[in-house]
Symmetry: C2
Subunit: 204 residues, 2 copies
């Protein structure tokens, strides 16, 4: 798995959920399908009068989620910006040409109320609960290099008792002088953290 | 359409997107399918060690989104709480019995790292872009009575010029001495707001 494959998978899902934060700091979510995909970029259409547009312009942080027919969750964290002024018309035409239903929603010239935002970098998280053990990964693209820090880590305070492994739903902890969590198969459920008698498991 | 029908439709969608806000005020989104539906309530399972759980316990605001096979968007805004302590085991058993795949993710006793949250009231927004004109509605249930205030309204400053109607993608504005937006068919795109020469359109 890599960032390009994740992007390609989102393209096949089609209708994605976009989460933002509103002016009261509350979560907001909606489906977006008016998206054009580049090889390592996304362009999406909305209308300037929507709260969604206001949230993107004032904050810009977005998490995008797609659920594939293979039961994979693909999440993209990104900062979005309006596409350059002189490219707006081009991207609107591209998106409307690719998705003819949009002309029913915004017929004729009314599409001019639209604005296209672009994503040219971000962090993907891939999560598959349908395989055994479960599988996850994180991949960046564009000018974003930082991976998402989530889950748990066993520190040097480990006493090697094996309690964590015994409580782990996915048995993704390797025994040793210091036990070690395999992040590829970790649910982030916290069972190791709660069961460690030495307080040796720390949250990332 | 009503709140019960919206809840029923979410049940058929199965895998829903849940948006929350994290400790940095950033949007967070993930798929949840470990849900039990009551007649006017939802109970869902997660693990105590997940960031999702932390966000629910510290803030509690959530927006839940389902996209039906009939191309309807159904969004639920709610405040969630952990189910009562003495009901946790019952709801975990119910959810695991309804969805056997969960026992592969949390086999045997490892499900004890789980926690069930409940939603007993909230506001639904229904949005259908696949009909002409588009259709939207808002419905509350439980002890939540306030509808979502979104979109636009034409005030008494209206000069009756008809510019708004001319620019409206959905022709959902009725002419009159004072023009009036029909909120049932409004996209919230803002074309009326931008095109009114009298500044008579206000954002709700």
């Amino acid at each position: 798995m890599d960032a390009q494959t994740c992007l390609e998978k989102l393209k096949y899902v089609g209708v994605l959920a976009f989460a933002t934060v509103d002016q009261e700091g509350a979560p907001q979510i909606r489906n977006i399908s008016a998206i054009h995909y580049g090889s390592d970029s996304m362009y999406f259409f909305t209308a300037r009068g929507k709260d969604f547009c206001r949230e993107l312009l004032s904050d810009g942080r977005v998490q995008i989620l797609g659920y594939t027919k293979f039961k994979e969750m693909i999440r993209l964290s990104a900062k979005v910006l309006p596409a350059p002024e002189d490219e707006q018309e081009k991207w609107i035409s591209t998106i409307f040409a690719e998705q003819p239903y949009l002309a029913n929603v915004y017929p004729g010239d009314t599409r001019k109320i639209g604005i296209v935002f672009q994503i040219t970098g971000g962090t993907f998280e891939y999560f598959n609960l349908g395989v055994n053990p479960i599988l996850r990964g994180s991949y960046t693209f564009g000018d974003v290099k930082s991976h998402v820090k989530k889950g748990y880590r066993i520190t040097e305070s480990c006493i090697g008792c094996g309690n964590c492994l015994e409580h782990c739903p996915q048995c993704c902890i390797e025994p040793g002088t210091l036990y070690r969590i395999d992040p590829t198969h970790c649910l982030h459920c916290g069972a190791c953290f709660e069961s460690c008698p030495a307080g040796a498991v720390e949250r990332l």
